[in-house]
């Protein structure tokens, strides 16, 4: 039910993001989705990849600060209001979203949203009750 998201600490220095993507590329790791926000002097890169365990290892071996977190991936209709259904469901259960990012793919219909919430288990139960399509690990890694 939960997806492993890889988080990497990035110094605000030119070339850092490219060096991370090089390490991943050199090790045959495919990026499914990413999110990067910046503050004044550092950033956290969040990645969904085809092999999170390997990604964490190769990044650590190359001296990066890395951690893995469980997140939820949901499929939403790629139409106006598509995301609303999911968020309204969580809102109804009083579950806060810490951050979210979306991606689409050519292989599957619809759009996908990665959600980081306060309590994964409870969120998944409610989402299921609301009829939201939750993606399994295999589904996401093989997109």
């Amino acid at each position: 039910m939960f997806i492993n998201q890889v988080s990497v600490f990035i110094e605000n220095r030119s070339g850092r993001l490219s060096s991370i993507t090089k390490v991943l590329g050199d090790n045959g790791i495919d990026i499914r989705a990413l999110s990067l926000a910046d503050t004044t002097n550092f950033g956290i890169l969040r990645l969904i990849v085809n092999d999170p365990k390997k990604a964490e290892k190769v990044l650590k071996d190359n001296g990066f600060t890395v951690s893995t977190t469980k997140v939820i991936a949901v499929q939403v209709e790629d139409t106006p209001g598509g995301l609303y259904k999911t968020l309204d469901c969580l809102q109804g259960a009083n579950i806060g979203v810490e951050y979210a990012y979306a991606f689409i793919t050519r292989k599957k219909d619809g759009a996908f949203v990665i959600l980081r919430v306060e309590n994964n288990e409870i969120a998944v139960e409610h989402l299921k009750d609301c009829g939201v399509n939750i993606l399994s690990e295999d589904e996401v890694y093989s997109i």
């Binding site: 926000a37 990066f64 951690s67």
Partner: protein, 431 residues
Amino acid sequence: MFFQKDIETMDREALRALQQERFIRTVQTVYQNVPLYHERFNSLGINPSDIRSLDDLKSLPFLTKDDFRNNYPYGLFARPMKEIKRIHGSSGTTGKPTIVGYTQNDLNNWSDMVARFISAVGVTDEDIAQISFGYGLFTGALGLHQGLEKIGCTVIPMSSGNTEKQLMMMEDMGVTVLVATPSYALYLSEVCREKGLTGKLKLRVGLFGAEGCTAEMRAKIEENLGVLATDNYGMSELIGPGVAGECEYRNGLHIAEDHFICEIIDPETGEVLPEGSTGELVVTSLTKEALPIIRYRTRDMTRITTEKCECGRTHARMAKVIGRSDDMLIIKGVNVFPSQIESVLMGIDSIGPHYHLIVTRKNFMDHLEVEVELTDASLLESYGELENLQNHITDRLRTVLGLTAQVTLVGPKSLERFTGKAKRVTDLRNT
């Protein structure tokens, strides 16, 4: 354990009498044999025959690093070259090194001083010591080498660098004593931990010197290497390591007072400060033949106590050097020693022990940036936690230093590691 118990536990009255006799003789020797002292005493109207007691010491002029430079290479030597058995030098960061020389007696006395402090922390002829100081002109490596051999240790002269090989030798040879700079020991200890060697080595004592080391940094080295980390003090202008060293109680460094007189002065006014005050250490040699020194300004900031130590040694103790008066940064008018910043950083989890200070000036305002390595990956969960960490470090620094520094988190292992003396400050204000 004592190497020269009768001297190390000498009654202080008798010690003072010995110092006085040697001091008076030293003053006469330098006046007769070293032109610099002769001219300087004459120009100040000082007649060596008027120097009759230790109280007269404070009337004599200081000797500085510039005097060594201006009299390069042999100008300060008091003996003919025929009697000089060894030359050492300190690595001058600019220009020529500071050259020092030794007679056979000087070398013997120096070895005794080193043997004293290594015995005082429990090193014996059963030990196998690895010297990871760089050999060469630097007094550290050969100074320790002689002292360790004198008490019968097995000595492995590794020199610095090639960390993998250092650890291999330590493991394979069953090394029990490590000699290194604290910054190199810290680096070695980290690699040791990464390789899972912590607990597998036979190391038990670390003899760390040649640069300062905060209590926090020392604790980290001890944790990673499983050693008792001990501090000793010296510099080539004085003789090398062995001027002072810790005993097993590690409550200050016992000064070899039969060979040196130490004073603490106000670095601004040159005035001698009362016992217990923190100021610049000034050293006068009592037995040196090749290169006697009168009131050498070390630039090292410390304090001295003559209170009795539990170990039974009567020789005065100096506190760990808190910094150099010329390493002291003045930022927005506030005196800042890098060691203060180090203490703060070492006390904070989630960051590594290495740091880099960058001082800049913009629009006539000083700006201090502190770079530290983030090591705790669990904080990547949210920006809030990383910002909290940054703010926490900033707050702690403000409390200790009284000024606001910009804290920058950088990736692990992105700051430079050092195999010799560390260079952790970049001051760009006057460039």
